[in-house]
Symmetry: C4
Subunit: 350 residues, 4 copies
């Protein structure tokens, strides 16, 4: 394979090199995958209105998230079981991120056992993480047909290192015939996770940590307002890569509504469907402070481990810089809503 | 074939296992089948706006229809000549339904011979049925090209058990050459059924039964208002699976108009295009009290008789439950119109 | 080939049985054929809102056009050189029409030579025709790529019987190399026809005939108003089957605008894209008094001559009757605009 | 290959006859090529409302641009390195243009070295050019994946004749591995061109030339107003053939906004996506004074050098003339906005 020139090239390699079960696990969205596809497609419906003859000889992509400076507004979204993509797994990804001076935030699933959750948060604080990201869209696990067909289970040589799974003999085994249409991911989640996740959970988490708490998975203006009321420090607009409830809107299509709802009181980020530099530009024009990329990082990881992750980040960063220059934006605050037109099939009035 | 993980898997089996004539009979819509396809497609245009951090650890799907409690708001739509799908035919379907504690409603075609109709209704009442469903969209039979090509006739070993067909020699035979572009279904309907079906027919039926009368096949707000005025107890929004007049709107696209027109005075149900749990969720968010599924039940019947029917019902029920949980709905009354956005290519304003 | 069950079946036979040059001549639209295709597609964007429980046991399709009664509101559009489709050509078509009690209208191209035109009109009047149809959309001939590629010329054994073509040696021959990208149809038209066609031409025609004059080819409300002002008796909304200016709107998409513009002062008809009974229903719901079908008649002619033409007319008539019954219309005046919804991708508000 | 009958026929020849690297260079748009495709597609969304019965026996296409008369409102857009399409390159194109009595305008890239730019403008003035076209949309070069894959470099036997490239050893060589995802076009532009292009640059250019200055690459009404304020004499609405920032709107979709913004104070032209006579008609109806065609001229050039260029111009001119006649326009001022409808999927209200 020749050297990738765009993120999609990494995907081609990824699809060709992984075994079916791992590929299916990472690739699939819930049910008919309408939302998983639409995350990507939706960005194309936002069209650009670039400005000319501004001095873009120096493009500055610096910004802050939760008060910490970053070099460019693109982070890595959490994805599970990365060792299925590359033997070095999440460690290689983390190292790739560090070389780009990325911050570390911790994605927290809230466990049934409160003490487990509290211990985990303490370790996270001691390890110097800068924020807690609470995933709010997974009270139960979505239905992914490919995993159900594959009777997916976590490969036997892999271990969930942050939780005690001793009581979960079946984590590594397909479910028995009785329940064979549900993958082991469901069972694991059902057994360990707190399906009674409510706004009180957020209040509870905030009560014993000083880290900023970010709600990941908000998809409506109504919930964004509730998040602000419950003291959430930031919102990641996310539909879990289309892996939870199929048919929800693409994240870029709800971002505007959520930015409007929070009225600037908390930072809003986005993940889902970011595949090139102009997608980042569009998300920021819609009001995101930064975006996170998930699957493309896995593609880079599968391609060349840490180096591949770095290359993916470098490429999307360079594309974003080029997109800024060609749209007349020398700094992030130049990226305004007027940069966009929306395809409601189609744009102009006559 | 591996175990089905979604309703579409049953369809694949169905299309592969039935002979062409039976498959065509069940599958085909009228003319170019625009409506038959659009029933399914239309649900995809409704997109979900799920709510987070609500307690969905217990999801309750119970409701009542016509005053009788059911465990979940999904019933079986009437389909004819089910023995072409499985030797046990409608009996297996009925048994599958009973195991899910389904109610029995009787679908009534009004015959030319009034006494025939009256006798039938009496038997229905004595048999403990809970409602009469009067099909209002078939004054004549739609044109289904595949049946016309196949010169479709009811297989000779099958019998219409509820009506006396002694005078109808040709029920089992293709029409003669003279009329060869019309299938025997047309002739049968034309001969037995009352093509002079009017609102007076509804009044007449209501005058000698105490059962609730439900009009199946209403597609406009205007007719929904007339239905209420004529004492109809419920409305099934249906276009006969797209088998009557091709080009009518998808049922989900007229549901909202009809719910609005009846102003809560009668219950409104929907059939047509329901293929997964989120479709049920969307129909209820648009105001349906329950939905009915037709072709997927036939797929289950063809797959494994009564067991297949039960499996189809179980699957769509589980999917619906999951969709409720993932959209933050713990009970049916939590399913509100604000759960939906509509794709008018596309959603948001800019 | 088995017996056709819809008009499209005749088309399949037509495409398979004619030689390429004739097939291309009849089939092609101008340039990229956007309008030719859209005439057909546009009808699908109009969706039906059928009414139930009306007495449709007797469906009456009778109406009048220009004061003369016809059995059903479907006529035959003019098409040229029909002998390329069947040896009996236009005579077979005319006989097929007569068996359906169709009226005869004469399509008039206005010639450079005024006397030629006047003589022709006199013959038409004497032959008992009921109206003159003046084609207004062909000051020059459109560019049809297939004809240009084929260097199309009228086959040498065929003769233009209504005009003296003695001076036109090249009617039967491909153009010489010099002009090889233009077909002989262009040259013929350019030589014989009056390219200086204006509203004065209409006034001139009306000044010496008592026959009603119908303008065929009006596509805007503005021109419809002018037509009324210039004493035109009727309008055929037509884009010449998409054969003149590619990119003009489909006829069904401008019909409403034209019906509104004439405010009932003249009758409005439509041709273009009618392929099934529901298309007729939709055109009438949009305000057309009758529709004309062109290519499908040629398909019938190619299939079985006069018998084929009759069969095409019979089929579309029966489909229209069925569409009326299934939408609750017992007579033509029951066909109202409220029967339609329009797909502006898509229908309902939310 | 048989004689082309439409511009697309030249493209077929072009795609078959050029080597991959040259074909890719000319054909490709930026990134996913959404804009490059949409330039062509967008014209199809504008639909025509032709007027009938106007005297179009003489169609006059004459107009003026920047005060100079031209025979028809279609010019040639600048494209680079034409010798890759035909050995005679841009000279053949220029000669083809002259035979059609085209004017000569000079496309100016502003160089880092001011003196280089000034010398070039002086030569241009002395050579009798009628206008300076300043390209404003290329502060840096867009990312074209095919060129990156091909590691595109200008062929070694070709020379950039208007600039001194002595210091640029690598113009003819692929970049070294270190930078291998960027083509030499980027490097060349980066090295020679002024990436600090601002409105002051326009003021500076205007300060020492009497030629009209035309800004090529304006895509918003906001920038069009700024152009007028900075004394620009004309605007070419262009997105560089979709080769700079992918995702910008099609030029025909922003033309209306720009025409409105300038309020008649400067002439507005368009390039991008013009592929047939009706596209020219539509652009003029939207307010363009003339259009420019780029890739089709290259197709003609590759087909037969100067003769091919002439043939392309002749063909689109003839198609435009036909489109005028068939829409009832005898002169350019007859082409009005009311000639258009816009497909916002779709047109009419109901």
């Amino acid at each position: 394979m020749s050297k990738p020139v765009c993120l999609a090239d990494f995907e081609v390699h990824f699809l060709q090199s992984l075994d079916r079960i791992a590929r299916d696990y990472f690739t699939s969205g819930a049910n008919q995958e309408q939302t998983a596809r639409d995350n990507v497609e939706a960005f194309k419906r936002y069209r650009l209105r670039p400005r000319m003859l501004r001095d873009v000889s120096n493009v500055n992509m610096k910004t802050t998230i939760m008060g910490n400076e970053i070099d460019f507004p693109i982070g890595i979204a959490p994805t599970a079981i990365q060792k299925m993509a590359h033997p070095e797994g999440g460690v290689a990804t983390a190292r790739g991120n560090c070389n780009h001076k990325g911050l570390r935030w911790f994605q927290l699933y809230v466990f049934r056992n409160k003490q487990t959750t509290m211990n985990l948060i303490q370790r996270v604080e001691q390890a110097g993480y800068k924020a807690l990201v609470v995933t709010v869209d997974q009270p139960v696990v979505g239905k992914r047909l490919a995993d159900d067909r594959n009777k997916y289970s976590i490969p036997s040589h892999l271990k969930l290192v942050n939780v005690n799974t001793d009581g979960l003999r079946s984590v590594h085994n397909p479910l028995d015939t009785q329940q064979s249409t549900e993958s082991v991911v469901h069972q694991y989640t059902h057994t360990l996770m707190d399906s009674k996740l409510t706004w009180d959970t957020i209040t509870w988490v905030k009560s014993f940590t000083k880290l900023p708490v970010i709600a990941k998975g908000i998809l409506t203006g109504e919930d964004a307002k509730l998040a602000v009321q419950h003291g959430v420090d930031g919102i990641i607009v996310s539909n879990h890569g289309g892996r939870q409830l199929d048919g929800v809107l693409a994240t870029s299509d709800v971002l505007g509504e959520i930015v409007e709802a929070v009225e600037g009181r908390v930072e809003v980020y986005l993940d889902g469907g970011v595949r090139q530099g102009t997608d980042v530009l569009k998300a920021l024009a819609l009001g995101a402070k930064a975006v996170f990329i998930g699957r493309p990082v896995l593609w880079g990881l599968a391609y060349q481990g840490q180096t591949g992750v770095e290359e993916v980040l470098r490429m999307v960063k360079e594309e974003f810089k080029l997109a800024m220059a060609l749209s007349g934006c020398a700094k992030l605050s130049d990226i305004q809503p007027s940069l966009l037109a929306y395809d409601r099939k189609y744009y102009c009035k006559l």
